[in-house]
């Protein structure tokens, strides 16, 4: 279980481009290219190295009017995925 006071931080030199409601992330080596859908793009926009997971969860619930418990599960899954792909680390 993640600590809600943890702060996600984007890792390394990423090139991030917003395309409509989606986002493309190119890793530093250019070997990997990731796309985020609309919700992923919203969450990514919150990852600024300052906001805690708790604050991001508040913003997510406000933006999408969803149940906090469900939103927390989805947020943790998403952050885990970003960590596995080496796109963020938890500070």
């Amino acid at each position: 279980m993640k600590n809600l006071s943890a702060v996600p931080v984007p890792s390394g030199e990423l090139t991030v481009k917003k395309i409509g409601t989606e986002t493309i992330i190119l890793t530093e080596t250019g070997e990997e290219l990731h796309t985020l859908d609309e919700t992923g793009t919203f969450v990514w926009s919150q990852i600024d190295g300052k906001q805690t997971l708790d604050q991001m969860l508040d913003n997510l619930c406000t933006e999408y009017d969803v149940d906090r418990e469900e939103a927390q599960k989805d947020l943790f899954v998403f952050i885990n995925l970003l960590q596995k792909k080496g796109l963020v680390f938890l500070g």
């Binding site: 030199e13 090139t15 481009k17 395309i19 409509g20 989606e22 986002t23 493309i24 190119l26 530093e28 250019g30 290219l33 796309t35 985020l36």
Partner: protein, 287 residues
């Protein structure tokens, strides 16, 4: 050929090439099947074909296997070694003979892609190379994009008697609000290609399927698929940098913003052109 120099036109650039031994000049001209251009070259290269170094496996990419050294550059474990003087727009390059035979000579062509980008130094960069099949159909340019084996040469073959520019590599010229599709002299599998250019109307991401199918791909997936096929815009004295990768990404985004991108599944018959005419005609009618 003047002074044994073969001049190759790619878009509005001309590359001048001299080979030693001289027989390779004629060999390369015959391989490409293009007449020697009359214009003065933008970039000149002297190639020394050698077998001195022990033969090593040829890398498929002359981009990712390229290193800068204190003497210039070295590619594919030393099978290509050279120096490029940007101010003089002149390169002196030693190439192992293993790269001058079919089929590996197609890998050698990648060095000329880099020479093409060197010819663009100093000006605004508005021309890019993309792995694709380019066709002029009904007075409009269409680009079919996909990796090896996705069907680019099949599309080229099925598109005759339309004008097939190239089934492997095409040039995109960007101006304010349009893109011009232009063929290149480089060799794919399809030999009946024609020289020409035309305003680009649409891009198709190729996949062979059980039926002809066109689906508009407006999002990031279109950018991702196009990006994979863009040739890194680096010159002879450069290697791929994060800036070059960002430039490629910006280009893919610009392409998607300028013309519609579709996912296309097709069967090996000309029926896909009927679908394209119908679909694009309908969308134009709705605009």
């Amino acid at each position: 050929m003047k002074n044994n120099e073969y001049r190759l036109r790619i878009g509005d650039s001309v590359l001048g090439m001299r080979f030693r031994p001289a027989r390779y000049t004629a060999l390369f001209r015959d391989y490409l099947g293009r007449e020697c251009a009359r214009e003065e070259p933008d970039v000149r290269m002297d190639f020394r074909i050698t077998s001195r170094q022990q033969e090593a496996p040829v890398d498929n990419s002359l981009f990712t296997s390229k290193l800068l050294t204190n003497r210039g550059f070295e590619i594919s474990g030393g099978l290509i070694k050279g120096h490029y003087d940007r101010a003089a727009q002149y390169g002196k390059i030693r190439v192992h003979e293993a790269l001058m035979v079919v089929p590996t000579i197609r890998v050698f062509e990648q060095l000329l892609y880099q020479a093409f980008f060197s010819s663009k130094d100093g000006g605004s960069r508005d021309a890019y190379l993309i792995h694709s099949c380019g066709v002029i159909h009904g007075g409009s340019g269409y680009l079919f994009v996909g990796p090896s084996e996705s069907g680019k040469s099949t599309v080229a073959r099925l598109s005759l008697p339309d004008t097939v520019l190239n089934d492997e590599l095409n040039l995109l010229l960007f101006s304010d609000n349009k893109i011009t599709l232009c063929g290149t002299p480089f060799n794919g599998l399809f030999k009946e290609k024609s020289e020409g250019y035309c305003e680009l109307k649409s891009v198709f991401l190729l996949r062979q399927g059980l039926e002809h199918k066109l689906v508009r791909e407006p999002g990031a997936e279109a950018v991702k698929a196009v990006l994979r096929e863009i040739v890194p815009p680096i010159g002879l004295d450069e290697v791929i940098t994060p800036q070059a990768r960002e430039e490629m990404l910006d280009l893919a985004i610009r392409l998607r913003e300028t013309v519609p991108v579709y996912r296309m599944e097709f069967q090996p018959n000309r029926g896909f052109w009927q679908l394209i005419d119908q679909k694009i005609g309908n969308e134009r009618g709705r605009e």
